[in-house]
Protein backbone atom coordinates (compact mmCIF):
# COMPACT_ATOMS: atom_id res chain seq x y z
CA UNK A 1 0.00 0.00 0.00
CA UNK A 2 1.16 3.53 -0.64
CA UNK A 3 1.54 6.05 2.14
CA UNK A 4 -1.69 7.72 1.10
CA UNK A 5 -3.61 4.46 0.93
CA UNK A 6 -2.59 3.68 4.48
CA UNK A 7 -3.55 7.18 5.60
CA UNK A 8 -6.95 6.85 3.95
CA UNK A 9 -7.50 3.55 5.69
CA UNK A 10 -6.78 5.12 9.07
CA UNK A 11 -9.11 8.01 8.31
CA UNK A 12 -11.84 5.55 7.44
CA UNK A 13 -11.34 3.69 10.72
CA UNK A 14 -11.68 6.90 12.67
CA UNK A 15 -14.95 7.73 10.96
CA UNK A 16 -16.53 5.06 13.14
CA UNK A 17 -16.10 7.22 16.23
CA UNK A 18 -18.38 10.09 16.97
CA UNK A 19 -16.94 11.13 20.32
CA UNK A 20 -13.52 11.69 21.82
CA UNK A 21 -13.78 8.67 24.08
CA UNK A 22 -14.13 6.17 21.29
CA UNK A 23 -11.31 7.81 19.45
CA UNK A 24 -8.95 7.80 22.40
CA UNK A 25 -9.88 4.27 23.42
CA UNK A 26 -8.94 3.20 19.92
CA UNK A 27 -5.61 5.03 20.10
CA UNK A 28 -4.91 3.50 23.50
CA UNK A 29 -5.69 0.11 22.04
CA UNK A 30 -3.25 0.71 19.20
CA UNK A 31 -0.67 1.66 21.79
CA UNK A 32 -1.22 -1.55 23.68
CA UNK A 33 -0.93 -3.62 20.51
CA UNK A 34 2.28 -2.03 19.29
CA UNK A 35 5.03 -4.60 19.83
CA UNK A 36 7.54 -3.57 22.47
CA UNK A 37 10.73 -2.16 21.06
CA UNK A 38 13.51 -4.48 22.08
CA UNK A 39 15.79 -3.14 24.79
CA UNK A 40 18.86 -3.03 22.54
CA UNK A 41 17.20 -0.20 20.63
CA UNK A 42 16.02 1.72 23.68
CA UNK A 43 19.21 3.70 23.72
CA UNK A 44 19.96 7.35 24.21
CA UNK A 45 20.60 7.85 20.49
CA UNK A 46 17.11 6.67 19.61
CA UNK A 47 15.29 8.97 22.01
CA UNK A 48 13.17 11.65 20.39
CA UNK A 49 13.50 14.86 22.30
CA UNK A 50 10.04 15.54 23.55
CA UNK A 51 9.25 16.93 26.92
CA UNK A 52 7.04 14.67 28.94
CA UNK A 53 7.38 11.04 27.98
CA UNK A 54 10.26 9.22 26.40
CA UNK A 55 9.75 8.20 22.78
CA UNK A 56 12.21 5.87 21.08
CA UNK A 57 12.53 5.58 17.31
CA UNK A 58 14.65 2.91 15.65
CA UNK A 59 15.15 2.92 11.88
CA UNK A 60 16.80 0.50 9.49
CA UNK A 61 17.03 -0.03 5.75
CA UNK A 62 16.45 -3.17 3.79
CA UNK A 63 16.21 -3.60 0.02
CA UNK A 64 16.03 0.12 -0.58
CA UNK A 65 13.21 0.67 1.86
CA UNK A 66 13.14 2.25 5.30
CA UNK A 67 11.61 0.52 8.28
CA UNK A 68 10.67 2.06 11.59
CA UNK A 69 10.04 0.67 15.04
CA UNK A 70 9.06 2.84 17.97
CA UNK A 71 7.92 2.86 21.55
CA UNK A 72 6.87 5.27 24.29
CA UNK A 73 6.32 5.30 28.02
CA UNK A 74 2.91 6.93 27.63
CA UNK A 75 0.14 4.89 26.08
CA UNK A 76 -1.60 7.61 24.07
CA UNK A 77 1.67 8.77 22.56
CA UNK A 78 2.45 5.13 21.85
CA UNK A 79 -0.83 4.79 19.97
CA UNK A 80 -0.11 7.91 17.94
CA UNK A 81 3.43 6.70 17.31
CA UNK A 82 2.07 3.37 16.17
CA UNK A 83 -0.03 5.12 13.51
CA UNK A 84 2.95 7.13 12.31
CA UNK A 85 5.03 3.98 12.08
CA UNK A 86 2.27 2.20 10.19
CA UNK A 87 2.10 5.00 7.65
CA UNK A 88 5.82 5.57 7.21
CA UNK A 89 7.41 2.15 7.48
CA UNK A 90 8.25 -0.04 4.51
CA UNK A 91 8.64 2.83 2.00
CA UNK A 92 11.54 4.22 0.07
CA UNK A 93 13.28 7.36 1.30
CA UNK A 94 11.89 9.21 -1.72
CA UNK A 95 8.32 8.24 -0.86
CA UNK A 96 8.83 9.29 2.74
CA UNK A 97 10.27 12.65 1.78
CA UNK A 98 7.47 13.31 -0.71
CA UNK A 99 4.73 12.32 1.74
CA UNK A 100 2.17 14.71 3.10
CA UNK A 101 0.84 13.53 6.44
CA UNK A 102 -2.74 14.67 6.19
CA UNK A 103 -4.31 11.88 8.23
CA UNK A 104 -3.44 13.46 11.59
CA UNK A 105 -5.46 16.51 10.69
CA UNK A 106 -8.32 14.52 9.16
CA UNK A 107 -8.83 12.35 12.23
CA UNK A 108 -8.89 15.42 14.44
CA UNK A 109 -5.59 14.91 16.19
CA UNK A 110 -3.79 17.88 14.69
CA UNK A 111 -3.19 19.44 18.06
CA UNK A 112 -1.09 16.43 18.99
CA UNK A 113 1.29 17.12 16.17
CA UNK A 114 1.63 20.80 16.83
CA UNK A 115 5.05 22.01 17.92
CA UNK A 116 3.48 23.41 21.04
CA UNK A 117 2.60 19.95 22.31
CA UNK A 118 5.42 18.66 24.36
CA UNK A 119 4.97 15.07 23.28
CA UNK A 120 7.69 14.91 20.69
CA UNK A 121 5.46 13.71 17.86
CA UNK A 122 6.34 16.56 15.57
CA UNK A 123 9.99 15.85 16.31
CA UNK A 124 9.36 12.22 15.51
CA UNK A 125 8.07 13.01 12.04
CA UNK A 126 11.07 15.24 11.51
CA UNK A 127 13.38 12.48 12.66
CA UNK A 128 11.76 9.99 10.26
CA UNK A 129 12.33 12.40 7.42
CA UNK A 130 15.92 13.03 8.39
CA UNK A 131 16.57 9.27 8.36
CA UNK A 132 15.19 9.29 4.83
CA UNK A 133 17.49 12.15 3.87
CA UNK A 134 20.46 10.40 5.46
CA UNK A 135 19.83 7.12 3.65
CA UNK A 136 19.31 8.89 0.38
CA UNK A 137 22.59 10.71 0.80
CA UNK A 138 24.38 7.43 1.49
CA UNK A 139 23.02 5.96 -1.73
CA UNK A 140 24.13 8.78 -3.97
Amino acid sequence: MTINEIQDEIIEEFELFDDWEGKYEYIIDLGKKLPKLSDEFKIEDNIIKGCQSIVWLHAYKQDGKLYFEADSEAIIVKGLVSMLVKVMTNHTPEEILKSDLYFIDKVGLASHLAQTRSNGLASMVKQMRSYAVAYQAKEN
Binding site: W20, E21, Y24, E25, I28, C51, Q52, S53, I54, E73, A74, I75, I76, V77, S118, N119
Partner: protein
Protein backbone atom coordinates in the same frame (compact mmCIF):
# COMPACT_ATOMS: atom_id res chain seq x y z
CA UNK B 1 -17.39 27.32 55.52
CA UNK B 2 -15.56 30.18 53.97
CA UNK B 3 -16.41 33.78 54.66
CA UNK B 4 -15.73 34.42 50.98
CA UNK B 5 -18.46 34.38 48.37
CA UNK B 6 -16.79 32.07 45.89
CA UNK B 7 -19.47 32.39 43.23
CA UNK B 8 -19.03 36.10 43.27
CA UNK B 9 -15.26 35.72 43.07
CA UNK B 10 -15.65 33.45 40.05
CA UNK B 11 -17.50 36.20 38.26
CA UNK B 12 -14.44 38.39 38.60
CA UNK B 13 -12.47 36.02 36.36
CA UNK B 14 -13.79 36.09 32.79
CA UNK B 15 -11.73 33.10 31.64
CA UNK B 16 -13.67 30.80 33.96
CA UNK B 17 -16.60 31.03 31.52
CA UNK B 18 -14.55 29.46 28.73
CA UNK B 19 -15.47 26.08 27.31
CA UNK B 20 -12.70 23.60 26.63
CA UNK B 21 -13.45 20.65 24.37
CA UNK B 22 -17.11 21.46 24.85
CA UNK B 23 -16.94 21.34 28.65
CA UNK B 24 -16.82 24.02 31.31
CA UNK B 25 -13.19 24.81 31.95
CA UNK B 26 -11.86 23.44 35.22
CA UNK B 27 -8.62 25.28 35.77
CA UNK B 28 -6.33 23.45 38.18
CA UNK B 29 -2.99 24.70 36.90
CA UNK B 30 -2.73 27.68 39.21
CA UNK B 31 0.78 26.89 40.37
CA UNK B 32 1.92 27.43 36.77
CA UNK B 33 0.04 30.69 36.47
CA UNK B 34 -3.14 32.12 37.93
CA UNK B 35 -6.00 33.65 35.99
CA UNK B 36 -6.59 37.40 35.97
CA UNK B 37 -9.56 39.27 37.44
CA UNK B 38 -11.36 42.05 35.55
CA UNK B 39 -9.72 44.71 37.71
CA UNK B 40 -6.30 43.70 36.39
CA UNK B 41 -7.48 43.50 32.76
CA UNK B 42 -9.13 46.89 33.13
CA UNK B 43 -6.01 48.39 34.67
CA UNK B 44 -4.00 47.30 31.64
CA UNK B 45 -6.54 48.67 29.17
CA UNK B 46 -6.87 51.83 31.19
CA UNK B 47 -3.17 52.47 31.26
CA UNK B 48 -2.74 52.01 27.51
CA UNK B 49 -6.00 53.75 26.72
CA UNK B 50 -5.62 56.79 28.96
CA UNK B 51 -2.15 57.51 30.31
CA UNK B 52 0.48 55.57 28.39
CA UNK B 53 3.77 57.48 28.57
CA UNK B 54 7.38 56.83 29.38
CA UNK B 55 8.12 57.35 33.04
CA UNK B 56 10.62 59.27 35.15
CA UNK B 57 11.57 61.39 32.13
CA UNK B 58 8.81 63.53 30.71
CA UNK B 59 7.41 66.49 32.53
CA UNK B 60 4.11 66.36 30.71
CA UNK B 61 0.81 65.33 32.24
CA UNK B 62 0.72 61.76 30.96
CA UNK B 63 4.31 61.05 31.97
CA UNK B 64 3.61 62.23 35.49
CA UNK B 65 0.43 60.23 35.75
CA UNK B 66 2.18 57.07 34.48
CA UNK B 67 5.14 57.65 36.80
CA UNK B 68 2.94 58.07 39.80
CA UNK B 69 0.92 54.91 38.99
CA UNK B 70 4.19 53.04 38.51
CA UNK B 71 5.54 54.22 41.86
CA UNK B 72 2.20 53.52 43.56
CA UNK B 73 2.73 49.90 42.64
CA UNK B 74 6.11 49.96 44.31
CA UNK B 75 4.50 51.27 47.49
CA UNK B 76 1.77 48.62 47.31
CA UNK B 77 4.41 45.92 47.01
CA UNK B 78 6.42 47.40 49.84
CA UNK B 79 3.35 47.02 52.06
CA UNK B 80 2.58 43.58 50.63
CA UNK B 81 6.02 42.36 51.76
CA UNK B 82 6.29 44.68 54.75
CA UNK B 83 9.63 45.96 53.46
CA UNK B 84 11.28 48.71 55.48
CA UNK B 85 12.01 50.94 52.48
CA UNK B 86 10.32 51.55 49.19
CA UNK B 87 13.60 51.54 47.27
CA UNK B 88 14.16 47.94 48.36
CA UNK B 89 11.53 46.89 45.81
CA UNK B 90 13.15 46.22 42.43
CA UNK B 91 10.95 45.48 39.44
CA UNK B 92 12.08 42.50 37.38
CA UNK B 93 10.39 40.37 34.77
CA UNK B 94 9.84 37.50 37.17
CA UNK B 95 11.27 35.24 39.83
CA UNK B 96 13.82 33.82 37.41
CA UNK B 97 15.04 37.28 36.53
CA UNK B 98 15.35 38.26 40.20
CA UNK B 99 17.40 35.18 41.08
CA UNK B 100 19.69 35.74 38.09
CA UNK B 101 20.13 39.35 39.11
CA UNK B 102 21.34 38.35 42.56
CA UNK B 103 23.59 35.55 41.28
CA UNK B 104 25.13 37.79 38.62
CA UNK B 105 25.69 40.85 40.81
CA UNK B 106 25.95 39.86 44.46
CA UNK B 107 27.30 36.44 43.55
CA UNK B 108 29.94 37.62 41.10
CA UNK B 109 31.14 40.38 43.37
CA UNK B 110 31.17 38.67 46.74
CA UNK B 111 31.61 34.93 46.16
CA UNK B 112 34.92 33.30 45.41
CA UNK B 113 36.52 29.92 44.87
CA UNK B 114 35.68 27.36 47.52
CA UNK B 115 32.73 29.31 48.91
CA UNK B 116 29.62 27.23 49.38
CA UNK B 117 26.12 27.95 48.14
CA UNK B 118 23.26 25.95 49.63
CA UNK B 119 20.02 25.22 47.81
CA UNK B 120 17.50 22.42 48.39
CA UNK B 121 16.19 19.32 46.65
CA UNK B 122 12.83 21.06 46.22
CA UNK B 123 14.15 23.83 43.98
CA UNK B 124 12.66 24.86 40.66
CA UNK B 125 15.25 24.90 37.86
CA UNK B 126 15.26 28.67 38.08
CA UNK B 127 16.77 28.45 41.56
CA UNK B 128 19.33 25.84 40.51
CA UNK B 129 20.77 26.88 37.17
CA UNK B 130 21.77 30.49 38.02
CA UNK B 131 23.78 29.14 40.97
CA UNK B 132 25.36 26.41 38.87
CA UNK B 133 26.42 29.05 36.36
CA UNK B 134 27.94 31.08 39.16
CA UNK B 135 29.71 28.02 40.60
CA UNK B 136 31.15 27.22 37.21
CA UNK B 137 32.46 30.72 36.80
CA UNK B 138 33.75 31.23 40.32
CA UNK B 139 34.65 27.75 41.48
CA UNK B 140 32.05 27.81 44.25
CA UNK B 141 30.54 24.60 45.57
CA UNK B 142 26.82 23.90 45.37
CA UNK B 143 25.34 21.95 48.28
CA UNK B 144 21.82 20.59 48.43
CA UNK B 145 19.55 20.17 51.47
CA UNK B 146 17.97 16.70 51.25
CA UNK B 147 14.28 15.91 51.75
CA UNK B 148 12.52 13.04 53.47
CA UNK B 149 10.01 10.83 51.69
CA UNK B 150 7.14 13.08 52.68
CA UNK B 151 8.69 16.05 50.91
CA UNK B 152 9.90 17.98 53.95
CA UNK B 153 13.41 19.38 54.06
CA UNK B 154 15.71 17.58 56.49
CA UNK B 155 16.74 20.60 58.49
CA UNK B 156 19.21 18.74 60.69
CA UNK B 157 21.17 17.96 57.54
CA UNK B 158 21.01 21.64 56.61
CA UNK B 159 22.40 22.66 60.00
CA UNK B 160 25.29 20.25 59.58
CA UNK B 161 26.02 21.67 56.14
CA UNK B 162 26.47 25.19 57.44
CA UNK B 163 29.98 26.42 58.14
CA UNK B 164 32.11 29.49 57.70
CA UNK B 165 32.42 28.38 54.07
CA UNK B 166 28.70 28.91 53.52
CA UNK B 167 28.30 32.27 51.82
CA UNK B 168 24.87 32.04 50.29
CA UNK B 169 21.64 30.11 50.83
CA UNK B 170 18.87 30.18 48.23
CA UNK B 171 15.76 28.21 49.09
CA UNK B 172 12.21 27.97 47.88
CA UNK B 173 9.52 29.18 50.30
CA UNK B 174 6.84 26.86 48.88
CA UNK B 175 7.54 23.93 46.56
CA UNK B 176 5.72 24.20 43.24
CA UNK B 177 5.82 20.44 42.69
CA UNK B 178 4.74 19.19 46.12
CA UNK B 179 3.27 22.21 47.89
CA UNK B 180 5.64 21.90 50.88
CA UNK B 181 5.86 25.09 52.94
CA UNK B 182 9.42 25.42 54.19
CA UNK B 183 10.38 26.87 57.54
CA UNK B 184 12.28 29.70 55.90
CA UNK B 185 12.56 31.68 59.12
CA UNK B 186 14.63 28.89 60.63
CA UNK B 187 16.68 28.54 57.44
CA UNK B 188 17.42 32.26 57.37
CA UNK B 189 18.33 32.49 61.06
CA UNK B 190 20.72 29.56 60.85
CA UNK B 191 22.38 30.97 57.72
CA UNK B 192 22.84 34.32 59.38
CA UNK B 193 24.58 32.65 62.32
CA UNK B 194 27.41 31.71 59.95
CA UNK B 195 27.28 35.05 58.15
CA UNK B 196 25.66 33.80 54.91
CA UNK B 197 23.12 35.78 52.94
CA UNK B 198 19.76 34.26 52.02
CA UNK B 199 17.47 34.52 49.03
CA UNK B 200 13.95 33.14 49.26
CA UNK B 201 12.22 32.03 46.06
CA UNK B 202 8.69 33.17 46.81
CA UNK B 203 7.15 32.33 43.43
CA UNK B 204 4.60 29.95 44.95
CA UNK B 205 4.33 31.52 48.38
CA UNK B 206 3.32 35.01 47.36
CA UNK B 207 -0.30 34.15 46.57
CA UNK B 208 -0.91 31.85 49.54
CA UNK B 209 1.12 33.09 52.51
CA UNK B 210 1.42 36.43 54.25
CA UNK B 211 4.98 37.54 53.72
CA UNK B 212 6.86 39.79 56.08
CA UNK B 213 10.44 40.18 54.90
CA UNK B 214 11.44 42.02 58.06
CA UNK B 215 10.20 39.34 60.43
CA UNK B 216 11.76 36.70 58.22
CA UNK B 217 14.90 38.81 58.03
CA UNK B 218 15.33 37.69 54.41
CA UNK B 219 18.17 39.34 52.53
CA UNK B 220 16.42 38.80 49.20
CA UNK B 221 12.91 37.71 48.29
CA UNK B 222 11.82 37.09 44.69
CA UNK B 223 8.39 36.44 43.17
CA UNK B 224 6.37 36.73 39.95
CA UNK B 225 3.20 38.78 39.48
CA UNK B 226 1.58 36.20 37.21
CA UNK B 227 1.24 33.73 40.06
CA UNK B 228 -0.84 36.16 42.11
CA UNK B 229 -3.50 37.17 39.59
CA UNK B 230 -1.22 39.76 37.99
CA UNK B 231 0.25 40.02 34.49
CA UNK B 232 3.02 37.88 33.03
CA UNK B 233 6.50 39.28 32.49
CA UNK B 234 6.50 41.25 35.73
CA UNK B 235 8.18 40.32 38.98
CA UNK B 236 9.70 41.69 42.11
CA UNK B 237 13.02 41.35 43.80
CA UNK B 238 13.16 42.57 47.36
CA UNK B 239 16.62 43.17 48.79
CA UNK B 240 17.87 44.82 51.97
CA UNK B 241 18.99 48.28 51.00
CA UNK B 242 22.51 48.04 52.44
CA UNK B 243 23.13 44.87 50.43
CA UNK B 244 21.57 46.27 47.26
CA UNK B 245 23.71 49.37 47.64
CA UNK B 246 26.86 47.28 47.90
CA UNK B 247 26.00 45.31 44.76
CA UNK B 248 27.17 46.35 41.29
CA UNK B 249 24.43 47.08 38.75
CA UNK B 250 23.10 44.25 36.59
CA UNK B 251 22.26 45.65 33.18
CA UNK B 252 23.55 48.92 31.82
CA UNK B 253 21.43 51.47 29.99
CA UNK B 254 19.08 54.33 30.46
CA UNK B 255 17.32 54.98 33.77
CA UNK B 256 19.99 53.23 35.85
CA UNK B 257 22.55 56.05 35.50
CA UNK B 258 23.15 59.34 37.23
CA UNK B 259 25.67 60.75 34.81
CA UNK B 260 27.27 59.34 31.69
CA UNK B 261 30.43 60.54 30.02
CA UNK B 262 32.57 58.42 27.74
CA UNK B 263 35.14 58.25 30.49
CA UNK B 264 32.93 57.21 33.36
CA UNK B 265 29.36 56.59 34.37
CA UNK B 266 27.94 57.05 37.82
CA UNK B 267 24.98 54.92 38.72
CA UNK B 268 21.59 55.96 39.87
CA UNK B 269 20.29 55.28 43.34
CA UNK B 270 18.13 52.41 44.41
CA UNK B 271 15.89 51.07 43.03
CA UNK B 272 16.68 52.59 39.62
CA UNK B 273 20.23 51.27 39.62
CA UNK B 274 18.70 47.86 38.87
CA UNK B 275 16.01 48.99 36.45
CA UNK B 276 17.83 49.75 33.21
CA UNK B 277 15.78 50.76 30.20
CA UNK B 278 12.10 51.47 29.83
CA UNK B 279 10.46 49.08 32.27
CA UNK B 280 7.34 47.00 31.83
CA UNK B 281 5.20 49.97 32.86
CA UNK B 282 1.73 48.62 32.09
CA UNK B 283 2.25 45.37 33.95
CA UNK B 284 3.84 47.10 36.91
CA UNK B 285 0.87 49.46 37.07
CA UNK B 286 -1.57 46.53 36.86
CA UNK B 287 0.05 44.45 39.57
CA UNK B 288 -1.13 46.93 42.18
CA UNK B 289 -4.68 46.05 41.21
CA UNK B 290 -3.95 42.36 41.69
CA UNK B 291 -2.51 43.05 45.12
CA UNK B 292 -5.46 45.25 46.06
CA UNK B 293 -7.73 42.45 44.90
CA UNK B 294 -5.94 39.98 47.19
CA UNK B 295 -5.98 42.43 50.08
CA UNK B 296 -9.71 43.05 49.61
CA UNK B 297 -10.43 39.33 49.88
CA UNK B 298 -7.95 39.02 52.73
CA UNK B 299 -4.95 36.75 52.46
CA UNK B 300 -5.99 34.78 55.57
CA UNK B 301 -9.44 34.20 54.08
CA UNK B 302 -7.90 33.05 50.83
CA UNK B 303 -5.51 30.74 52.66
CA UNK B 304 -8.30 29.30 54.81
CA UNK B 305 -10.49 28.58 51.81
CA UNK B 306 -7.63 27.08 49.80
CA UNK B 307 -6.88 24.88 52.78
CA UNK B 308 -10.45 23.57 52.66
CA UNK B 309 -9.97 22.76 48.99
CA UNK B 310 -6.67 21.03 49.74
CA UNK B 311 -8.20 18.90 52.49
CA UNK B 312 -11.20 17.98 50.35
CA UNK B 313 -9.06 17.10 47.35
CA UNK B 314 -6.63 15.09 49.44
CA UNK B 315 -9.47 13.07 50.95
CA UNK B 316 -11.28 12.50 47.69
CA UNK B 317 -8.21 11.64 45.66
CA UNK B 318 -6.88 9.29 48.36
CA UNK B 319 -9.94 7.12 47.88
CA UNK B 320 -9.13 6.40 44.26
CA UNK B 321 -7.57 2.94 43.94
CA UNK B 322 -3.99 2.95 42.67
CA UNK B 323 -3.61 6.67 43.26
CA UNK B 324 -0.72 7.80 45.43
CA UNK B 325 -0.35 11.37 46.57
CA UNK B 326 3.23 12.54 46.23
CA UNK B 327 4.21 15.07 48.86
CA UNK B 328 2.73 14.80 52.32
CA UNK B 329 4.63 17.55 54.01
CA UNK B 330 3.56 18.75 57.44
CA UNK B 331 2.53 22.09 55.99
CA UNK B 332 1.34 22.48 52.44
CA UNK B 333 -0.34 24.96 50.18
CA UNK B 334 -3.18 23.91 47.88
CA UNK B 335 -1.15 21.71 45.56
CA UNK B 336 -1.78 18.00 45.11
CA UNK B 337 0.74 15.98 43.14
CA UNK B 338 -0.11 12.37 42.44
CA UNK B 339 0.78 9.29 40.46
CA UNK B 340 -1.54 6.58 39.20
CA UNK B 341 -0.37 2.98 39.20
CA UNK B 342 0.51 1.84 35.70
CA UNK B 343 -0.47 5.10 34.01
CA UNK B 344 1.95 7.69 32.71
CA UNK B 345 1.19 11.25 33.89
CA UNK B 346 1.01 12.44 30.31
CA UNK B 347 -1.92 10.11 29.64
CA UNK B 348 -3.66 11.46 32.72
CA UNK B 349 -3.18 15.01 31.44
CA UNK B 350 -4.39 14.27 27.90
CA UNK B 351 -7.56 12.50 28.99
CA UNK B 352 -8.42 15.11 31.63
CA UNK B 353 -7.87 17.82 29.02
CA UNK B 354 -10.46 16.13 26.83
CA UNK B 355 -12.84 16.63 29.74
CA UNK B 356 -12.01 20.31 30.06
CA UNK B 357 -9.81 19.85 33.12
CA UNK B 358 -6.44 21.61 33.04
CA UNK B 359 -3.77 20.13 35.29
CA UNK B 360 -0.02 20.03 34.94
CA UNK B 361 1.85 16.83 34.20
CA UNK B 362 5.56 16.17 33.98
CA UNK B 363 8.55 17.13 36.06
CA UNK B 364 7.32 20.67 36.92
CA UNK B 365 10.78 22.11 36.18
CA UNK B 366 12.08 20.18 39.18
CA UNK B 367 13.96 17.30 37.55
CA UNK B 368 16.38 16.75 40.46
CA UNK B 369 13.39 16.47 42.81
CA UNK B 370 11.69 13.94 40.51
CA UNK B 371 14.94 11.94 40.39
CA UNK B 372 15.07 11.97 44.18
CA UNK B 373 11.49 10.68 44.29
CA UNK B 374 12.26 8.10 41.60
CA UNK B 375 9.48 9.35 39.34
CA UNK B 376 9.48 10.50 35.71
CA UNK B 377 6.97 13.11 36.77
CA UNK B 378 3.63 13.53 38.48
CA UNK B 379 0.19 14.88 37.75
CA UNK B 380 -0.43 18.04 39.71
CA UNK B 381 -3.66 19.81 40.53
CA UNK B 382 -3.16 23.22 42.11
CA UNK B 383 -6.04 25.28 43.44
CA UNK B 384 -6.79 28.97 43.67
CA UNK B 385 -9.48 30.86 45.51
CA UNK B 386 -11.88 30.70 42.53
CA UNK B 387 -11.90 26.88 42.47
CA UNK B 388 -14.66 24.84 44.07
CA UNK B 389 -15.27 21.42 45.58
CA UNK B 390 -17.62 20.73 42.65
CA UNK B 391 -14.66 21.12 40.36
CA UNK B 392 -12.67 18.72 42.52
CA UNK B 393 -15.52 16.23 42.12
CA UNK B 394 -15.13 16.61 38.36
CA UNK B 395 -11.43 15.91 38.69
CA UNK B 396 -12.13 12.76 40.68
CA UNK B 397 -14.66 11.58 38.06
CA UNK B 398 -12.15 12.48 35.37
CA UNK B 399 -9.46 10.35 36.98
CA UNK B 400 -11.84 7.41 37.21
CA UNK B 401 -12.39 7.81 33.49
CA UNK B 402 -8.63 7.85 32.88
CA UNK B 403 -8.32 4.56 34.73
CA UNK B 404 -11.22 3.01 32.87
CA UNK B 405 -9.82 4.02 29.50
CA UNK B 406 -6.15 3.24 30.02
CA UNK B 407 -6.07 0.18 32.28
Amino acid sequence: MSVLDINKIRQDFPILDEKVNGRDLVYFDNAATTQKPFVVLEALANYYGHYNANIHRGIHFLAEKATSAFEDSRSAIQKFLNAAHKEEIIFTYGTTDGINLVAQTYGRKFLKEGDEIIISTLEHHSNIVPWQMLCEEKGCVLRVIPIDDKGDLILEAYEKMLSEKTKFVSVVHVSNALGTINDVKFIIDKAHEVGAKVLIDGAQASSHITIDVQTLDADFYAFSAHKLFGPTGMGVLYGKSDILNAMPPYRGGGEMIKEVTFEKTTYNELPYKFEAGTPNIADVVAVKFAIDYINDLGKENIAAYEDELLKYATEQLSEIGGLRIVGKAKEKVSVVSFVLNGIHPQDVGVILDQQGIAIRTGHHCTQPLMNRLGLPGTSRASFAVYNTTDEIDKLVAGIHKVKKMVL
